[in-house]
């Protein structure tokens, strides 16, 4: 398949269509409104359904309704919008429905700013909503990877009957890069007749289905939560994804970084290598489940003197890096928020200040 040059936001919309997700509900918010603009044109062409909801709260329940009746459905938003969807996300998790949420992050807190950021790391990886919630969180570092993650998000959501979040920073949405939509990532929607409210006639069955999150009996609710917990444990066993960089030989420091920030760190690592300082990187591609073991192994490697969590926020992933490293070597954080992306030179300086 040939590559086409596309803006990240439009590529994300197209990727979902190629993945067979023909239901999209959204509310405009910078820096990802182009997804809704693109899909308002594209969905009618492919026989899909596009609707601009009255708020992100409403949108999250449009998603819940469509997911509950067994349809592939998704939305895209940015940080403040995701906060409003957090209630719906919790209900969707409780009712065990598959859906995909894309968060093209901007700076916070509050209205924050409209420029790229990674400041929703903790919100996303700690489940977003109330209750014992977790989402499978995929973090793309390029437009191509965003396409692939969106396409795989749907079967993953269905495998676990749990929402999946694609967590990109504003740069992923705004950047133009050549992309292709791999045919092998297309998947047929799973059969949902055992649980979805798609109508008894559709199923050809006489028993009805219920989509709900209320369990008034404490024993039943505990069992329900244990069932959901087992799904998260299965994700931890089966879905952890990460990429290593400059990791094969000996190195004196390890950088952990995700999304667009990891691309800057690559450049920094190349600069340091040219100067004779070997630094490795682990780039988590799944933020939940987190590649704890990979970060631990890389940090504990002989010769590694320090670990750096480099993020476009005020120090969020660093908590997971510390969990992974378990105090065996010092863990430092460097980052910026509000739209300024740390430069390769700043990353080099940060590492050099600790590792000579």
């Amino acid at each position: 398949m040939s590559k086409v040059l596309m803006k990240g936001n439009e590529a994300i919309g197209e990727a979902a269509i190629r993945a067979g997700a023909l239901n999209y509900f959204a509310y405009p918010i910078t820096p990802q409104s182009e997804v809704a603009e693109y899909l308002s044109r594209r969905m009618p062409e492919v026989g899909g359904h596009f609707l601009q909801g009255e708020s992100e709260v409403a949108v999250s329940y449009m998603i819940f309704g469509a997911a509950g009746c067994g349809e592939r459905v998704f939305t895209t938003s940015s940080s403040p919008g995701i906060s409003l969807m957090s209630e719906g996300i919790s209900y969707i998790i409780g009712a065990e429905c598959p859906a995909v949420f894309v968060n093209i992050m901007r700076g916070g807190p509050g209205l924050g700013g409209i420029l790229p950021s990674q400041a929703d790391y903790l919100q996303a990886t700690r489940g977003v909503g109330h209750g014992d919630c977790r989402l499978l969180v995929l973090a793309p570092a390029s437009v191509q990877e965003a396409v692939e993650m969106v396409m795989t998000a749907f079967p993953l959501a269905e495998k676990y009957r749990n929402p999946v979040m694609v967590l990109g920073d504003g740069l992923i949405g705004q950047m133009m890069e050549p992309v292709e939509f791999p045919d092998n990532l297309k998947s047929a929607p799973s059969n949902k007749d055992d649980w979805a409210t798609n109508g008894m006639d559709t199923r050809g069955r006489k028993t009805r289905n219920l989509v709900k999150s209320l369990f008034l009996d404490p024993v039943e609710l505990n069992e329900h939560n244990l069932k959901i917990k087992r799904k998260y444990e299965q994700m931890e066993r089966e879905e952890v994804r990460f990429e290593g960089y400059n990791q094969d030989g000996a190195y004196r420091a390890l950088i952990v970084s995700f999304g667009t920030m990891s691309r800057v760190c690559r450049t920094a690592i190349d600069i340091m290598k040219a100067d004779g300082l070997e630094v490795a990187m682990i780039r988590p591609q799944t933020l939940f489940p987190y590649p704890l073991q990979a970060v631990r192994d890389a940090a504990w490697k002989k010769g590694c003197q320090a670990v750096f969590s480099i993020e476009m926020n005020m120090g969020q992933m660093v908590e997971d890096v510390r969990l992974a490293v378990q105090g065996r070597c010092p863990v430092h954080w460097y980052g910026k928020c509000g739209g300024e992306v740390p430069t390769p030179e700043e990353v080099v300086e940060t590492v050099r200040a600790v590792v000579q």
Partner: protein
């Protein structure tokens, strides 16, 4: 000899959790009868609210989803837009629909969503213990308006049917009641009309049912009916407010 009276197929055998004299049960039965008569049980999806009717799905025998407080119209939109062949209705109380969910109901009605809403107006929050609702009458005492609803502080009760009828998008909007047998036949007719408009893909349908909550009104079921007749019906007059014709 054929049976002259039987339980609708759309209604389950479970005894309900509703208080004695509560009109939720009558409203359920009317919805079930309409679904049976229209032969749509196999393609209907109901949406339960958060309120006393949160467990409504226990009393029906077709697919159901349970919404968050106030969000049923958004869920119904998601289902109906992605599966236009399904028949969808929301069943909501006045706290659910007219307070926390006011945004969702207005926008769903204004978009002309092709689903149906059954709106239970009992002038209080039933489930949480009788707090003031947007529909609570002036001077009516509730657990959060112990001196009576002070309209200078919290405004006048909202007439939701009139509010929705003021929207320019075609819709069927009707206010009925289920407090006495003489009103029930009309209420059922309105519910059937609303579902029929949905089946014809004509318009959004909204039926408000003036109801009682004897428990939280602190009245016997009989006195509750009297109170509703004397106080609610004058403020919430019955009849069709809007039709797509």
């Amino acid at each position: 000899m054929g049976k002259t009276f039987q339980k609708p197929e759309a209604l389950s055998d479970q005894p309900t959790h509703y208080c004695p004299g509560c009109t939720h049960g009558v409203a359920h039965r009317l919805v079930a009868e309409v679904i049976d008569e229209l032969g749509i049980r196999g393609r209907t999806v109901g949406i339960a609210p958060v309120g006393c009717a949160v467990l409504a799905y226990n009393y029906f025998t077709f697919d159901f989803q349970e919404a968050a407080h106030g969000r049923a119209p958004a869920m119904a939109t998601g289902i109906k837009r992605s599966r236009p062949d399904l028949v969808v209705f929301t069943y909501q109380g006045d706290g659910d629909l007219a307070s926390i969910g006011m945004g969702e109901i207005v926008h769903a009605a204004n978009r002309g969503e092709k689903f149906t809403t059954v709106f239970i107006n009992n002038a209080v929050y039933g489930m949480t213990g009788g707090q003031m609702a947007p529909t609570t009458l002036p001077d009516q005492r509730t657990t959060t308006s112990p001196f009576g609803r002070n309209v200078d502080e919290v405004g006048m009760p909202i007439r939701v049917s009139e509010l929705l009828a003021s929207l320019q998008t075609p819709a069927y909007i009707s206010r009925q009641t289920v407090i006495l047998p003489k009103y029930i036949v009309k209420a059922k007719k309105a519910i059937k009309k609303a579902f029929t408009y949905q089946l014809e893909n004509r318009c959004y349908g909204f039926v408000e049912l003036v109801s009682t909550c004897p428990t939280n009104w602190g009245l016997t079921p009989v006195d509750a009916v009297k109170w509703a007749q004397e106080h609610m019906l004058p403020y919430y007059p019955l009849g069709d407010l809007k039709s797509p014709e």
